[in-house]
Symmetry: C2
Subunit: 374 residues, 2 copies
């Protein structure tokens, strides 16, 4: 494994660098800080509790801004509050913002960096597997509206992404699984089929959270994502492949009001459904469908509706209607990414709502233990 | 006069087009609308009152979003409110936003376009002279914080700027003057000295608001601005020339809490002061200083503090302190753009606060009728 990938964007390129220890990462951050008048860490309350002392040690005297935990940080209200605080502290354009945390912190900090005084530079130091394999790279930033997630945001690449898998030692198992779901998705869309096979061969290593293997997953995932976002930075065509499994995933999260479910769990079931639907449409052969399903099962990831919602009460019709609300949808129709093989995807295509509802019902029925009448 | 200028930006180029009639402008907008699923006009309450019927006539059935009048539209609170409204109306990415109004509407709409669903396209149809000569071009968007103006925003160029000087017929005289102040500033920084001479030769035409001359002023100003923003889109060096007169201008507006003064009036006095300060520092010869001052006087633009604030009570010290708050300031010092001749500017340089205060006092004393002790 190499320890660096350069990501090209329309406005220059930035490195993603892996570190085996905290000290060299800190040194690298420090040398970047030299180019700015000031630096500010953005981190959640929980991360401050875990890593506050580590940051004190490595970055004494560097300002830290504490965000509320979870998705509620991602709002325009908090954006305004924090921006006012920054201006009161005399933070000017020549400042480096540092997102230290998971996807929420990265999304928020990147958005703030893109609009604070018409933009300041920022870097990402992801502390979750999800951020290390996916969200820290690609330049998407955003906050939520009460009408939906990430409806406000920008494409604004960081100056660098610094990854230290050691942070995963403090990450709850459920969050690791959330990241793994995106890893499986990434392996399915990877043009090289080796990534998927690598996962199949390393199930036990992944289950025991072997640090070397998790680091490798981060590297391989970012490689795939980098090659896609470089070809389609603004999501006009193939970047949509990254949304594989997310159409249903988002609908599940939204119907549950983002409660009791984490993003990766919903994506995991969404990914299984995308494979199932692809098989039903005869785009995907049975054998490959089963490989995808069985990998999810072997990795102990959610793969059926019940894994997320015990009572299995999410109605297929409601899910389908909710799938229209995705912002990538043009003209309020449902567009879906299908799989035709490992590494082979079909560009998003419109699906018939009725067909989708029937397929959802069939999917739920095929994988249910709790019998629910719809 | 030609009727089109192309503005190059890092993310493509866009045209600024002048129209002699409303009908061809409407036709041009309509043909752009064809490329989008939907279109939305953004306009202020006042502009809706004046032009609502015109828009009904030319664009029947096209959605219009009404903003509060004045600077109070430019807030994150209104941004959120409008964004929620847009999502509820099912407005997706494939939509054209149309800013129809002055600088505030352009700044707000551009900002909204830059962050709504991670960006949608927008065009500008300026209705004020200020917007026709300055703010509609250059890609700066923004909203205010309670701690200052335009502290939140983005660099986000429109897809096109369509100018119909006929809209100026309904513009209050005071607003015309506000635009003229930016015109004089632009003529001072124009590398070709002809623009400044043109103004000197056409004073009576300008004073009687001759439409052909106002149109020419718009064209000449955009030419100058275009050449500057093309060389320095993100304000790293020469774009700062556009801030000539704005350091004091912003401080005046801010100290008056943006009440009883319009932007162009504050800039007009700020421009005079920039010339005065340049003369005091021996950067500018007396003759050129007087040409600048006398042009402002001939055009009946504010040139002394009293023209803005009758009681002349703004303290020099307070003004100087406020000039530090500008976001272009690094390390909280005061940077100032000096003039060394028509078309000859010095890159922003740091000034000594004490020297600045003394110069402000001298300037006020030289041009006061109301005697105020500081």
């Amino acid at each position: 494994m190499k320890d660096k990938i350069m990501i090209k964007t329309s406005s220059g390129s930035y490195p993603v660098v892996w570190f085996g220890e905290m000290a060299p990462l800190a040194k690298s951050v420090e040398s970047m800080m030299q180019n700015y008048h000031r630096s500010v860490f953005f981190l959640s309350y929980s991360i401050e509790k875990i890593y506050g002392k580590v940051l004190d040690h490595f970055f004494p005297g560097v300002k830290r801004l504490i965000l509320p935990d979870g998705e509620k940080a991602k709002s325009l209200r908090i954006t305004e509050e924090i921006a006012v605080k920054l201006t009161k502290d005399g933070i000017h354009r020549n400042t480096l913002f540092i997102a230290f945390g998971g996807g929420v912190t990265g999304d928020f900090t990147g958005f703030m960096a893109s609009i604070y005084m018409r933009s300041v530079d920022f870097i990402q130091i992801p502390t979750t597997l999800l951020a290390m394999v996916d969200s820290s790279v690609g330049g998407k930033t955003g906050v939520n509206l009460k009408t939906g997630k990430n409806l406000i945001g920008s494409f604004y690449p960081p100056r660098a992404v610094l990854i230290f898998p050691g942070f995963l030692r403090t990450l709850p198992d459920r969050e690791i699984n959330g990241g793994l779901a995106e890893v499986v998705k990434t392996a399915v869309i990877s043009p090289s089929k080796d990534f998927f096979s690598y996962l199949e061969k390393n199930i036990s290593g992944i289950l025991r959270r072997d640090p070397a293997i998790l680091s490798e997953l981060s590297y391989k995932s970012i490689m795939v994502k980098a090659s896609i976002v470089q070809k389609d930075e603004k999501e006009q065509n193939i970047r949509a492949f990254l949304n594989l499994g997310h159409t249903l995933g988002h609908a599940i999260e939204s119907l549950l009001d983002y409660k009791g479910v984490i993003h990766g769990e919903a994506v995991s079931v969404g990914l299984h459904f995308a494979a199932y639907y692809s098989k039903e449409k005869d785009y995907l052969d049975d054998h490959t469908y089963l490989r995808i399903r069985d990998l999810l099962i072997s990795l102990k990831l959610p793969y059926k509706m019940e894994d997320i919602h015990k009572e299995n009460k999410l109605k297929s019709k409601d899910l389908a209607v909710n799938m229209q609300k995705d912002k990538k949808v043009t003209k309020s129709r449902i567009r879906f990414v299908f799989i035709s093989g490992i590494g082979r995807l079909l560009l998003p295509q419109e699906v018939n709502e009725n067909e989708l509802v029937q397929t959802l019902k069939k999917f739920k029925k095929a994988y249910q233990t709790v019998i629910v009448q719809e």
